[in-house]
Symmetry: C2
Subunit: 332 residues, 2 copies
DNA sequence: CAAATTTGCGCAAACGATTGTAAGTACGCC
DNA sequence: GGCGTACTTACAATCGTTTGCGCAAATTTG
């Protein structure tokens, strides 16, 4: 492995100086044509490749971007990651990926590890358990940070996210116009901004259509399966159980559907579901959620990557800003 | 951002030399107690962090590992990636992820990009369209390569994979003991080693139980949905259509099931499915494949990462080797 | 033909940290 | 008091590349 071929060797071989080799390889005009040719020929023959570690050191850049997200195995995030990869690859950057597993400590460790490894910037989709946000503040003194999807809204950070309030509003409005009245909301954890916005859209739509708001229809989940089962049972045990359940995630809907089936309810007949994530496998279900919201995670990731690259490459003119991606209602 | 605090500044501030600062921060015994204390105190106050780019340069290491796999969005690979991340993080390494999208050119570009970015080693799960393998040979002159799952078996490379032949054998044997005779195989593309092995296990099991091998029951797919639909229709159009179909992937089974349903067949009644990947959402199906093979992708990734780290950290004693992970038959 | 300009190339510093070697001081011992 | 031994710290080289500057030789100009 690695004979460690440097410019020095090429220079010695040809009896010229290292600086001449360097300039010849860059086609610098101050180097003569024959010398340039001679150097490039030998470099090609020896398969010379510049030492990226030395170049990174000199340029104070690594061309690596850190990405911190809750779970790689969640399709939503892996699609976002795909979008990020695509955008970065086009600009010569690679991505270093770490999972927070929705854990604050891990998120902290991931960010500091990325900084220690010398990434040029960081894309973050926050862990649901992140209540203390000061580590982002510390980190941003070192490298620019852009949030995507699970964002921290603050003028200091760039952020790319979907308009959850509107998505929830549209969804509820769709259900109302379909004739539904008893619509429950299986919402996410309180720590996520999206949870608040989803609830707002839900309430706004009910108000807009002059329907009563039943607080018992609104449940916040903590992302564990037990809690989902608990909360769906609470809904089904109500005097007037909901006809439609708005689940913030496909997997939540699936778990809830299981409970319904066990209780003898027929999905899309006795009770229907709509969701907030459009995962590919749902189309294979016999009774899929009747509607869903496409949030374009790939686009989210891609835009966030673009924003971060701007922060890295034009730091003088860059102003952190927020980009909103319009979600789209999909009726099955 | 970045005031670029270096040892030089600390040294100047305290009127000592840079080397003293360096050694004081390492608690080197040659530096006096007060000096060490003084340096560390100031470093703490100024939030000094060593410049990782300079250290990477000096150590000729980046503590970054490249990972090239077909698709991030395939749950199987994202689980493997999770396993890789976990193992690497424990050893102070981060991972740089790239997708080949099963395309040879992209795989090539990914590997050379990783090398240019200075990763210390590369984990690869090969693209299905990779017929020419010479780029791996070129790359391994620069950094060690370890394959996982979709491996290239060659003494030069480490490799971690599942025993597909045994898995297929066990699966077919299970079906035979359940009384099935007409078992078809929807296999992967020819370019993948696993395809050959799966076919071998399938044939071995039939032979072992003295059953005839019907070549019409064996179909190789090219991973496009159209091809899957075409091949499943060919199977169903046979004079004696199969009772059970062994699909090499859950998504293939799902697409095939769709076709069956459209043709009025009842899943798990008129025709059954078994698969070779145990994706989480299948448990939510009303009629899931009756059996599947758990291949432990996380374990695969984790072991591959361990092997690669060995190649990187003990290059003198490292000998490339193959690690086989025993798959497990799961009956639903 | 001398002066001015261009052309071609090497020297050396720089990036930030590590580390072998040297050099200085203080101490104890005979 | 001189010398060996600790002890403490500084100097300088090094990793591989880039780049400003300077110095020759070649060429053009008046």
């Amino acid at each position: 492995m690695h004979a460690s071929l440097t410019m020095k060797k090429i220079a010695k071989e040809l009896g010229v100086s290292v600086s001449t080799v360097s300039r010849a390889l860059q086609n610098h005009p101050r180097i003569g044509a024959q010398t340039t040719e001679k150097v490039q020929k030998l470099a090609r023959e020896l398969h010379y490749e510049p030492n990226s570690r030395a170049i990174n050191f000199k340029n104070k850049k690594s061309y690596n971007i850190g990405v911190v997200l809750p779970y790689l195995t969640e399709q939503y995030f892996s699609i976002a990651l795909s979008g990020i990869e695509e955008t970065l690859a086009g600009k010569g950057y690679n991505m270093v990926v770490m999972q927070s597993r929705n854990d604050y400590e891990r998120e902290l460790a991931a960010i500091s590890s990325l900084i220690r490894h010398g990434v040029d910037g960081i894309l973050v989709s926050m862990a649901s358990e992140t209540y203390n946000k000061s580590h982002f503040n510390d980190a941003t003194h070192k490298v620019p940070i852009v949030f995507f999807d699970r964002v921290l809204k603050h003028p200091k950070y760039g952020a790319v996210y979907g308009d959850i309030t509107k998505a929830a509003f549209d969804m509820v409005q769709f259900l109302i116009t379909k004739g539904h009245q008893n619509i429950a909301l299986l919402n996410g954890p309180n720590s996520l901004q999206a949870t608040t916005e989803r609830e707002k859209g839900y309430i706004d739509a009910l108000r807009y259509h002059s329907l009563a708001i039943n607080q018992q229809y609104i449940k916040n989940l903590n992302l564990t399966k037990e809690d989902t089962i608990l909360k769906i049972n609470e809904l089904l045990n109500l005097a007037t159980p909901p006809e439609v359940i708005l689940a913030f995630h496909d997997y939540i809907a699936l778990d809830a559907m299981e409970v319904c089936k066990q209780r003898g309810l027929k999905i899309n007949q006795d009770i229907s579901f709509v969701t907030f994530s459009n995962l590919s496998f749902c189309s294979y279900l016999d009774n899929p959620p009747i509607a869903t919201v496409e949030q374009f995670p790939g686009e989210l990731g891609s835009q966030a990557a673009r924003l971060l690259l701007e922060a890295i490459e034009q730091p003088e003119t860059y102003v952190p800003r927020e980009i909103v991606i319009e979600p789209k209602l999909i009726v099955r």
